[in-house]
């Protein structure tokens, strides 16, 4: 258990990228429509986010500065406005979507309409962010999030993927008129997992935990185990959907549909496990997104920030959370579909992905911040590759969103 708590920051960070409301829906749809044909996108994104998270944690551990603060300091406030604005808009949409995910999970458990449960979910998120310490915020979802490993168990119970599904791993069945949707889903997976808010949250979390140069080993382990955990659960969900939903011609268009594969494996217990997994991961993602927004704003504007401060001691940092909860409730009460919001949020994030990631190349080679712990050539080549990928995702995501109607 102690080892798990050591890497809790990584697991909570991974939850936001790999198994939040949008990611569950994307994984479900990807598996149902293309079998294992999009697993490559998950694997590519996993390697990329491991590298980025490790770098942001190393930066904070060595310099004491979170990534957002380093961007602002090194490139100036005008430049920082670009990632800040895109993050505030995208995270506002994502935050509302995640609260919607919590409400839908509660609805799956109780049978009550998710529209009625939306304000309840928002209040629960607000109270947790307001009163809980950072330790509780990271350890709670990380421990409870292990319920997502039930996706892996379901694959085992169902006897593993049959040969015709395994073949799609290297030979995806993409019909000519499905190519647009296939490409859209690939871009959506890459954009959702290589999401800057995960990096901003992780590096701020490292500061909240008081990491120092001695934490570099822990940082590496957290990045690998945390992101690896997220990747395994997301790929398990893809596999499960490919095994169960695809053959039944179910598209996985709603979250309840995605959970039917768990019902096939475990019966009623499976539906409860799926709803609990959705509840915990979306709740964790809510905490992550809300804190990430406040971290970005506070670090950019030089406000006092951190969960170790009482709300009155970091008033503007906490006021940001209140404002975002109110905005989210207002949007949520309009009845907008959380999955559509998540999709839009991902598209906005993808648009400015290169702006948020390019500074890595400069900052991680600056001895002023990192001393002897600057990037080696392998990390630099990896970073350049990720930035190129970010440009590609940024270039194609919006046109594909329009062309496919969000698939």
């Amino acid at each position: 258990m102690k080892r798990l708590l050591d890497v809790a920051l990584g697991i909570l960070t991974a939850i936001g990228g790999f198994v939040d409301v949008g990611a569950v829906a994307t994984a479900g749809a990807a598996g149902a429509k293309f079998g294992l044909g999009l697993v490559w996108a998950f694997l590519l994104a996993t390697v990329a986010i491991m590298l980025l998270v490790e770098m942001s944690g190393r930066l904070t551990a060595v310099s004491g500065k979170p990534y957002a603060a380093a961007i602002r300091e090194h490139f100036g406030f005008k430049f920082y406005l670009l990632p800040l604005t895109s993050e505030l808009v995208a995270n506002g949409l994502m935050f509302t979507a995640e609260i919607g995910g919590v409400a839908i999970a509660l609805s799956l458990l109780t049978g009550i309409s998710w529209h009625l449960l939306f304000p309840v979910a928002a209040i629960a998120v607000f109270l947790t962010v307001w009163f809980a310490s950072f330790e509780v915020i990271e350890n709670g979802p990380a421990i409870l999030g292990l319920v997502t490993l039930s996706f892996v168990a379901a694959i085992v119970v169902l006897g593993g993927p049959p040969r015709e599904v395994v073949v799609t791993l290297w030979k995806p069945d993409v019909k000519p008129d499905d190519l647009g949707e296939y490409m859209f889903l690939a871009a959506a997976i890459l954009g959702a997992i290589i999401s800057p808010y995960l990096i901003f949250f992780y590096s701020s979390g490292a500061r909240e935990e008081g990491w120092s140069r001695r934490s570099l080993g822990l940082n590496k382990m957290t990045a690998i185990i945390g992101m690896g955990f997220g990747s395994v659960t997301a790929i398990a969900l893809v596999t499960l959907s490919a095994m169960v939903l695809g053959p039944m011609h179910i598209g996985g268009g709603t979250l309840g549909e995605v959970g039917l594969s768990m019902a096939t494996a475990f019966g009623r217990t499976g539906t409860v496990l799926f709803a609990l997994a959705l509840l915990i991961t979306c709740f964790g993602a809510c905490l992550e997104v809300s804190l990430s927004m406040s971290y970005n704003l506070a670090q950019g504007l030089g406000w006092r920030w951190g969960e170790h401060h009482k709300p009155v001691e970091a008033a503007r940092f906490n006021l940001t959370i209140i404002v975002y909860v109110l905005v989210a409730v207002a949007i949520g009460l309009l009845g907008v579909d959380p999955l559509q919001l998540a999709l839009l949020g991902s598209a906005v994030t993808a648009l400015l992905l290169p702006v948020a990631l390019s500074p890595f190349l400069v900052i991680m080679n600056d001895k002023h911040y990192l001393g002897d712990d600057t990037n080696g050539w392998i990390s630099n080549v990896g970073t350049i590759g990720i930035i190129v990928m970010a440009f590609i995702v940024a270039a194609v995501s919006m046109p594909l969103l329009v062309l496919t109607g969000g698939a």
Binding site: D177, T254, A275, L403
Partner: protein, 127 residues
Amino acid sequence: MLSLVALTPSVSGCEMVKSAYVSQVGGAAEELAAVATTLRLVHEGRVTRQYAQSTFANYREVLVSFEPKLRKAEGAPAPDSVVRAVSVSRGVAQVIESPCLDDGCDWRGQLAALETAAAALDEEVGG
């Protein structure tokens, strides 16, 4: 990855994206298949009643917008295609509105109607 960029401009020009009509009808067929599966799993005791109630509410939200979206959709192969698809969806509207989640009603009849409707829509788009 680079193929994503290379292919994007050609996506709209070629037949790499389904027409709005095919997307809508295909999506509705998938949704009806999900409705039928949920109903079957409920009566096999594999889905909790609460889960079923919640998912049916979501199915209703998705399917209620099917008809207006379909009427606006471009790319129908023949003028009566839209009429046929709308007629199929209307045929099971009552089932989606009041699904038989208990044993005291004709859930098998509802299941058969849903499966027939899903297959009909699937056939409509050559699925």
